[in-house]
């Protein structure tokens, strides 16, 4: 009798790494560099990819996605730059406060939900704050290829301008920085006007900035295909709720400070995921029945699907009401 096919575990393949450097860049942002524990080169990644970092914080396991910001041409290290979020769910605080050089950690193979469109004639990057990270890898890639690009980077202040000095030193003519505390702002309309046909824009930053870029570009006649964005949503806390998982045949409680996906994992259910931020679509789950209201927060399902009550993205979305039964 042949063995039953092995079911792949949820999430991307894992890589065991050692923290090889912890480099504070400013009061809020620190870079973490990893080397592989087995001494092999890292898998190549395409600029814009992220890795999911596993953090064992006491009894709790956190899995947070971070953009790889190291040079995709260098397979000896992976690096991420993390902004400390004192109001966040604790992942960034854990990295900032607990992680030291030499620590063993586990990260996933890279997954790219924000790739360069290499058919583009020119690439215009719009970064807000820590949204700069994927563009560092993209810039390294385009510099090697001789691709045309420019960066418009808005940050709070000089002090909090992560990588501003390095970028302006290396690429004085391509990097434009705008400091909020000096009342400087990206002149988006002028910047969109006059770009050659075949230009693509990429935006990474707060939601307001992403929406602003999409809306302004559309009003200026840019095709949707030429406007790219990436926003990882962190799951938001909410009222605890109960969920029945019919395939697994269990009923679980989702706590105030955990996501539905995290609650399933805590209860031993191997639920699919990749980005854990509402962007990739991997965790999409069918709703068998529900009596109550969904709190949809993902970027994956469209408005009709949200309204239908037939699907939910457990990595970021929640539920308020009497009963929820999922096909998981």
């Amino acid at each position: 009798m042949s063995a039953a096919p092995q079911k792949a575990k949820a999430g991307a393949e894992k890589i065991e790494v050692t923290v090889s450097a912890v480099v504070p860049l400013n009061p809020l942002v620190t870079r973490f560099e990893f080397t592989r524990r087995d001494g092999q080169p890292f898998p190549p990644f395409s600029a814009g990819a992220h890795t999911v970092v596993e953090m064992r914080d006491g009894a709790r396991t956190r899995l947070n996605p971070y953009s790889l910001m190291s040079d995709p041409g260098d397979s000896s290290i992976y690096a991420i730059s993390v902004r400390r979020d004192d109001q966040g769910r604790g992942g960034s605080l854990f990295l900032h406060n607990q992680v030291k050089v030499g620590d063993p950690m586990t990260i996933t193979y890279p997954v790219n939900l924000f790739p360069l469109d290499l058919r583009g004639r020119k690439h215009v990057f719009l970064a807000g704050g820590i949204g700069i990270t994927p563009f560092l890898a993209m810039i390294a890639h385009l510099e090697r290829m001789g691709g045309a690009w420019e960066l418009h980077y808005s940050c709070r202040s000089k002090e909090l301008g992560t990588y501003v000095d390095e970028l302006t030193y290396k690429h004085p003519n391509k990097v434009h920085v705008y400091f909020d505390d000096q009342d400087q702002a990206i002149g988006l309309e002028d910047l969109l006007d006059g770009q050659p046909l075949g230009t693509h824009v990429y935006v990474c930053g707060p939601k307001g900035m992403i929406d602003w870029v999409h809306a302004t570009a559309a009003a200026h006649g840019w095709p949707d295909e030429n406007v790219h964005s990436e926003e990882f949503l962190a799951p938001q806390p909410g009222k605890p709720f109960e969920v029945r998982l019919c395939k697994s045949d269990i009923t679980i409680q989702v706590g105030e400070h955990e996501s539905l996906l995290e609650a399933m994992e805590r209860c031993g259910v191997d639920a699919p995921f990749l980005c854990r931020g509402g962007a990739c679509g991997q965790c999409e789950t069918d709703v068998v029945s529900s009596d109550g209201d969904f709190v949809h927060r993902d970027h994956w399902l469209d408005d009709d699907e949200h309204a239908s009550g037939k699907k939910i993205m457990p990595c970021v979305s929640r539920f308020v009401g009497k009963s929820l039964v999922l096909d998981r």
């Binding site: 046909l197 006649g221 295909e225």
Partner: protein, 202 residues
């Protein structure tokens, strides 16, 4: 003239829509023959568009029927060309000078739309952002898969390749790169056994 509804086919076969005004910095409109009617309809829904429009029009056998009505729309630039081949240099020039925010509207025969779409895509405009509307003749631009020659304005199936003389069966298999449908020898196994040509879609 009422619009022709192409029957559903394989996914390779292009489908066309209805031109609608879109926001943009400049508007490039390329039409042939009855395609002019689609531009006139577009003007009926948004006449203001034409202040920043460049119309490239190839009347083919409609002669002067539409020329003055198109001119009356007041486009920023208006060019009437004797053939697509004579107009293509101008199309390339307009695209190479253009910036993001350009909207492209194509109307008329499949051959015209396919070739102009190809130019626009090569200039960096994504396929999905190029609007098309079929009007007029259902004639097709065909490539002979044997000699690679292109025969324009094919109206019957089968037809005779204008380059190598083979009898070709008209397929719905389409190449965006060539802007042509595929024509395949219909009597390869039994030379001379060629069905009576029938008019396309009749």
């Amino acid at each position: 003239m009422s619009k022709f509804q192409f029957p559903p086919s394989i996914s390779s076969r292009p489908v066309y829509g209805t031109l609608e005004p879109r926001p943009g910095k400049a508007h490039l409109m390329i039409a042939d023959a009855e395609g002019a009617e689609a531009l006139l309809d577009l003007a009926a829904s948004d006449a203001a568009l034409f202040a920043n429009a460049h119309i490239i029009y190839i009347p083919k056998d409609t002669g002067e029927t539409y020329v003055e009505r198109l001119r009356a729309l007041g486009p920023a630039q208006f060019y009437v060309g004797p053939s697509y081949a004579a107009s293509v240099q101008r199309i390339r020039r307009v695209l190479s000078d253009a910036h993001m925010g350009l909207q492209v509207y194509l109307a008329g025969t499949e051959g015209l739309m396919g070739q102009a779409q190809n130019e626009a895509m090569q200039a960096g405009i994504p396929h999905g952002a190029i609007q098309t509307e079929h009007r007029g003749s259902v004639a097709r631009r065909m490539q002979c898969v044997h000699c690679k020659g292109i025969t324009e304005d094919v109206t019957t199936d089968p037809f005779v390749c204008s380059h190598c003389g083979l009898n070709l069966f008209v397929r719905d298999h389409y190449s965006r790169r060539l802007a042509a449908f595929q024509g395949v020898c219909i009597d390869a196994e039994d030379p001379g056994n060629v069905p009576e040509p029938v008019e396309l879609y009749k």
